[in-house]
Every structure is written in C-alpha cells, then in structure tokens.
Amino acid sequence: MSADADVEVLRRQGRIVVVGASLAGLRAAETLREKGFTGSLTMIGDEPYEPYDRPPLSKQALLGRARPEDTALPRRRDIDAEWRLGVAAEGLDRVAKLVRLANGATVAYDRLLITTGTRARPWIHPEEAALDGVFVLRTREDSTRLTRKLAGGVSRVLVIGAGFTGSEVASACRELGLEVTVVERGPAPLVGPLGGVIGAVADRLQRRKGVELRCGISVTALEGDDVGRLRRAHLSDGSAIDVEVAVVSLGAVRNAEWLAGSGVAAGPRGVACDAGCRVFDVNGIVTDDIYAAGDVARSPHPLFDYQFLSLEHWGNAVEQAEIAAHNMICAGPERRPHLWLPMFWSSQFGVNIKSVGVPSMGDQLVIAQGALDEERFVAVYGYHGRVIAAASFDGAKWMGFYEQQIAAGAPFPPEYRTVDRRTETLQPVDPAFPDPHLPTHGATVTLTGHSPSERRVTFVPAHA
C-alpha cells in the first residue's frame, strides 16, 4: 500500500485522538472535519468542561462583566466527537498506540494530537498553597472562586508576581476598589516579557493607579490562622503584610509529565516538534503519528535563529492547531510549516499592551513612536542589527506594520521618519532584560534552545 493510499484510508476511517480539550484541541478538531476527515475523533480533557476561553478569566470575569461559566468557545462547526471529559491522560504507549487514562481506560489512536497546554505554577509550599485565601488563576474554577472571594469584601489583596496575569489581576482589583499589594522578585513589572525599560513604565502606571508595588523582593512564607485561613505574608526584606487573599501568579508549568517514559521529547520546556507540528522522540527522530500544538508545544522558527520557541499565546494556539490538523491527514508534500509570528496582548490599568515578535531576544531598543512618559508608545527591539520585536502601549494598530518589518528582517534601528516620532534620530538603548539564568515567570515567549530532545531546564541567554 502506498503512503498516499494510507492517507486516504486515514482520512476516511482513521482514529484521531486529541488530548487536551482546549482552544487548540477544539480548533484542530474543527479543522480536521473541515478538511474532510470522516473517521472517529476522541477529545480527552482533564477538566469537566467543553473547551472554553481563558483571556476573559483574568479581565472581564473578575470585574463581574462576564461569568466564568459563560466563556465556552464559539464553535465554528459540528465536530462529531466522542468527549472524554473530566479524566486526565496519564500515559502514552507508542508501540501499542494507546493513550492511558487516569481511570484505567485506554484509547487507541492512529494519529495523536497533544494539546495539554499549561497549568498555573503552584505556590512553592503545598501546605501554604492549601490555605483558604490562596489562589492561582488559570481555569474557569479558579476564576469563579477568586471572583466570589473578591466580591465578598476583602481589605487587601496580595498579588505574587507581576507578569501579565498578576498585573491583570492587580488591575481588576483596583478597578473593584480593592487595596492591592504586588510583590515582584524582578526590578519591575513585566520585565521578563518586555525588559526593564518598558517595565519602568508599567511600574509607574501601577503606582499611579494606586497599587502598592514592591519590587526586588519576594514572598518567603504565607501564614494561616488556627482554622487554616490566610492571614499574613512574610517578605524577604523581613517585613510582613496582613492579607486575606493572595493570588499566586508565578507563570505556567507545561502539562507534559504524563508523557514521561513514553520516549517522546517532552519535558518541563514543553513537547518538541518540528515546524510541521510532528513530535520528536528523545533521539531527535521525528514521529509521524504524534503531533503537538498550543502552549505545550515548542518548535523551531527560522526568524529566530531556528531556536525552539514555546508560546503561551492565544493566536498561536489557533494557528498551530490548524496546521497540525492539516498535516495529520496529508501526505508529505502537502504539509505546511507553522511559521506564526509571536503576538500577544494584555489589557491592564486602562492600557492596551500588544507585542509582536520575540522582545526577550532583543539586544537593543528604541522608542519609535510616542513617548514612554505619556504611557503611549511603540518600542522596537533589535537583534544583531535587524528588527526582532515591537511592543506598544495603546498603539496596537501599528503592530501590523512592525510585524511586516520583523518578517522582512528590516534593519535596526529604523531610520525612516514616522508619525509621532519625537526625536530626529533614535538612540538605541539596552532593553534591560533580567539575567536569563534567573528563573522568570512573566515570559510569554520562551526560547528553549536548539535541541529537540533537551529535557533539562536550561535558560538560553537572550543576549547572543
């Protein structure tokens, strides 16, 4: 039987299993059906819900403008799938081509798609994490619990970590009229994803909006009362603050543990796959029946020195899922590469923040439009003399232009005149990213090195 005939059989009567009933999982399933896949489709998810949208959970939901349970993702089409919800995948047998579930059941596949995403990094001490009043924010249930708590009258909220999620939580709390303390180990909010120059703007913005921001220190312990309710947080500078609510926003952990021992290149940095979303095994050999997409995937990108990138971006999940689905049911020459340009947005303290490219790779930065002190600007990042990224505060509409500049490898610094240029010539400065060897939790793009089967936690310097 030729490979092409195999693909035809697969399209008609193959068994495709999607592990991770997420944005990526859903979009992949829809794409499979769209492209004429008529075989069986199984969606496995550890949460009891059909796929839902997460961005509103840290924004509109906390403000009471949307209910967390109303964030189900709109369906593009019927996917005619068997849903196995509320039960996690626990293991993978590549030889027998089976996924093992936590309840002991097994599901056989001809093609497997891994879209297990990430989960919130929990507080370091489990017994402290279990205190009533200590929250993380990732799932619909997290959002429901936190929203209820905030609505119930709280004197002060402690946010641990000023990455994007932490900053959005702090913003929502201020909008609700709550007192907020943000504790950030780095020198400023958002330093991980955007660097210290932009971080300083976020710093001023937070303080102006009434956040008690304490940078350069960390929370050492959370203390409970007799009945297990949070009452105090101890800080590394020796001080303590009385709080009833702490939101732990220390970034995300990739849900790849279930693949341990399966022989695929999965680890704390994610599941390595090629540009066509096919997963590598630990020997760096590409599999042909296992694919990955979304937050859990890491894949090489030609615009960024072919480093593997893992992206916790909504748009990436959608696009990578579509590519993976397409490639799963196509013969070799018809397969497409995933060359998505990283892009994400955030809204906090009344400002829309948007970024394209990989800012953390930047070795220089210019303010191309607007001004930092007006909190409205476009910052352009350079790497080895070309444009590698751009980030804007209330300038999202310009990002399409800079996306083109990045894709074209346009020279840095940009010499041309634009609207809202404040200085005749642009003076590049160091974007001031923190030492990449320190763990950061705010990155939304992680450079994960050149090796597909790297399984240790290693931080690759952004400065080449």
Binding site: Q369, G370, V378, K397, W398, G400, Y416, R417, V419
Partner: protein, 403 residues
C-alpha cells in the same frame, strides 16, 4: 490608458455612475505614479498595508508646496484641522477625548440609546410615502436621517436641524479633489464653516452653562472651543453624506439584485452580511486622497518618495480579485468579508458604529414596509463628488406601503 491622466479620470464625472472598470484598469499597476508626483494605490494588500503604515501622514501640511492640501482650514477661520487631518499624538489625544462620551469603554450605551429616536424618524419618513406611487429614496428617505442622527449625537436642538442640512452639503463638496480645487466651492465651504462655526460657538457656550444631552455638553469642559468646533464640523461632514450614500447604495444594489432582495424579505437576518457586502461593493467613501509619505516607502516593487501625495483607492481595493473571489459579484454570503469600506488603521471610521446602527434601523424597515415595483432611472443621476460618491436622486416606483 495614458499615464498622467488617472486622477483626472477618477474625478471625471463621466465615470461616476460606474467607476469600477476604471478601477480594474488601475489595479493592473498597483502603485501608479502621476506626472505631478501623486501616487495612486489600488490593490487590497497595498492599500491595507499603507493605511496602517506609520510613515504615511494624514496631515497634508507635510506635502511640498504646489500640491493640494485638503483638510487645512484657511488661516482666517482661526480653526485647527479636524482630527482626521492630524497625526498622533494630536490625533490620538483628540480622538480619545471625543470617544469618551461616544463609545466604549466609557460610554458603551450611548449610541444604542439613539436607536429608538432614529426608528421614530424612519417611521415618520416612511409614513409620508402613503398614497404615493413614486418616491425619491435620496430626498424622501436617506437624506434626512443622518443629519438627525448627527444632531442627536452632538445635542443640537431639533428646530435648528434644517440649518445643518445646508451646511453639510456645502462642506462635503469641498472634500472632492475636483470641485475642491475650484474657488467657488471652497468659498462656499468656508462660508458654511463660518456660519456653522458661529452657531456652534453659541451652542457650545450654552451647553457649557446648561449641560444637556449629546457629546458637546460632555466635551465642553475638556476641549478648547476651537477643537470642539472643528470636531463638530468633521462629524457632520463625515457622518452625513457618507451615510446618505450608504443607505441609498444599499437600496439601489438590492433593487438591482431581485434574487437577493427576495431572500432578504424572507430572512431579515440577512441584513448583517448584506449591509457589509454593500460597504465592500459600493463603499460610500471611494478613496482617501489626503495622505502623504513621510519617508521613502517601498511597496509592491515601487518606491514612493518622501513627500509624495498618496491616494488610497478603497473602492478599487474592495474589488481586488486577489482578495475577493469574483469581486464584481454582489454576494451577501461572502465569507471573511474584511472590506475597507470604513478604512483601516488609526483613522478607521470613527462613526462606523453609528453608521451601522442607522443602516440597520433604516434598511430592513424600508423593505419591510415598502413594496417596490422598479427603479425609474438606472443608473440614477450621481452627485459630482468622486470621494463621497453616491446618487443625487434615486427615483423609484412603489406599489404599496404596509403599516
């Protein structure tokens, strides 16, 4: 086509009723240089990309001497240019301020609150069709609604509305590159602007002392009277003629496509994709002739030199076969209809949500109540304006009116 005559052909009245064959010709050279150094851009990707390019300015003072500078008020008026003819940061500051009482996030319900009053106007206009077997859709229907809408937005007392109709006419014609070059039309526009300015100065002062409904009251504390006046003039011009044309074009297009009209009558839900398709197919703003390159810009293999006036041909881009399959077909089932009818980028139509409300209040009700028999002139007579293109009259025969 001889080079150097394109802008003249675009503004030539002979091409007004059907400019699309000319636009198709134009797209063969996506970025075309005129003898006077103006660049005309007509393909979708290029127009879209330039409209979002920070090297392109809407402030026509960046043009070298000798080129038209639309949007720059004569010095004696003492008025600043309205925000559509400014660049950031001035543009962003003005637009943000004006948006505060107008739309989300601060005023998410303002426009929706006008729906009832606009529906009442529509009902009155249609009631007046009773007993007639022939009406002019422009005079009798499309024309009165948008002025009322803008007056409501601004907070102009109802009895003063007729004066706004006259001013709107005079100001709109000055945006036209052809008549805009003529002294008479410019003078008329300046006079209208002065009269309207004087009226608005009084009104703003009244609103400052006795706040009432509308955005002028809300903005009076935050803006200089001159900026506020320039804004009011802009909203009137940009919000009036455009919406008149959008309503008229929708009516004309539906009457030219009886199959779609039949479907629409049976399925009022078709209104949304149908109206968006009209905005692609017959956009009320055909092109934007007031942008200028601030730097050399490479686009589609051509370099537009710094200082060049640039015309962005929205209506040609909307029919680019590279972007829209079978672009000359009116097809409300079109997927992914990301038309440029409201432009794109930071100067995206400020009034787009208002225009959509007006269209959705007016069009379904017009076709629900009126039984049309036929167009009495096809093509209908057009206005002179090539930018804000639309019929001057749309005479139709009607068979009846339902309650």
């Amino acid at each position: 086509m001889t080079p150097g005559t394109i802008t003249a052909q675009i503004t030539d009245y002979a091409n007004r009723a059907d400019p699309y064959p000319l636009y198709a010709e134009l797209r063969k050279t996506p970025v075309r240089r005129e003898d006077d150094g103006t660049y005309v851009v007509s393909t979708y990707e290029e127009v879209r990309s330039l409209a979002n390019d920070p090297r392109l300015s809407n402030d026509t003072r960046n043009r070298p001497p000798g080129h038209a500078r639309p949007g720059q008020p004569a010095e004696e008026t003492g008025l600043p240019p309205s925000f559509i003819f400014t660049d950031p940061p001035v543009h962003d500051r003005l637009r943000d301020t004006i948006n505060r009482p107008f739309g989300p996030p601060h005023s998410p319900r303002f426009l929706d609150g006008l729906r009832g009053e606009l529906a009442k106007v529509v009902t009155e206009l249609l009631d007046a069709f009773e007993g007639k077997d022939q009406v002019d859709i422009v005079e009798d229907f499309s024309y009165p609604l948008p002025v009322t809408a803008i007056c409501k937005v601004l907070g102009v007392p109802r009895e003063d509305e007729p004066r706004f109709h006259v001013w709107a006419d005079a100001l709109a014609s000055s945006l036209d590159p052809q008549s805009g070059g003529g002294d008479e039309s410019q003078e008329k526009a300046q006079r209208a602007r002065q009269d309207m300015g004087a009226y608005l100065t009084d009104l703003i002062e009244t609103k400052r002392r006795h706040p009432g409904p509308g955005i002028l009251s809300a903005l009076a504390p935050d803006m200089t009277p001159a900026d506020l006046e320039a804004t009011a003039v802009l909203l009137l011009v940009a919000g009036h003629e455009t919406t008149v044309n959008a309503i008229t074009n929708t009516t004309l297009t539906l009457l030219r496509h009886p199959d779609v009209l039949q479907r629409f009558l049976q399925d009022p839900g078709l209104a949304v994709p149908l109206i968006e398709e009209v905005l692609r197919y017959e956009p009320p703003v055909q092109f934007v002739p007031w942008t200028t390159a601030l730097a050399d810009i490479d686009v589609a293999g051509t370099t537009i030199p710094k200082g060049s006036p640039v015309w962005l041909m929205l209506a040609a881009a909307n029919r680019d076969p590279q972007r829209f399959a079978d672009p000359d077909r009116f097809d409300p089932d079109r997927k992914d209809n990301e038309h440029l009818g409201f432009y794109t980028g930071i100067h995206y139509c400020f009034g787009a949500p208002l225009a959509r409300i007006e269209l959705h209040v007016a069009v379904p009700e017009l076709f629900r109540r009126v039984t049309f028999s036929q167009l009495l002139e096809d093509p209908p007579p057009y206005r002179a304006n090539a930018v804000l293109r639309g019929p001057r009259h749309l005479p139709v025969a009607i068979e009846g009116l339902t309650a």
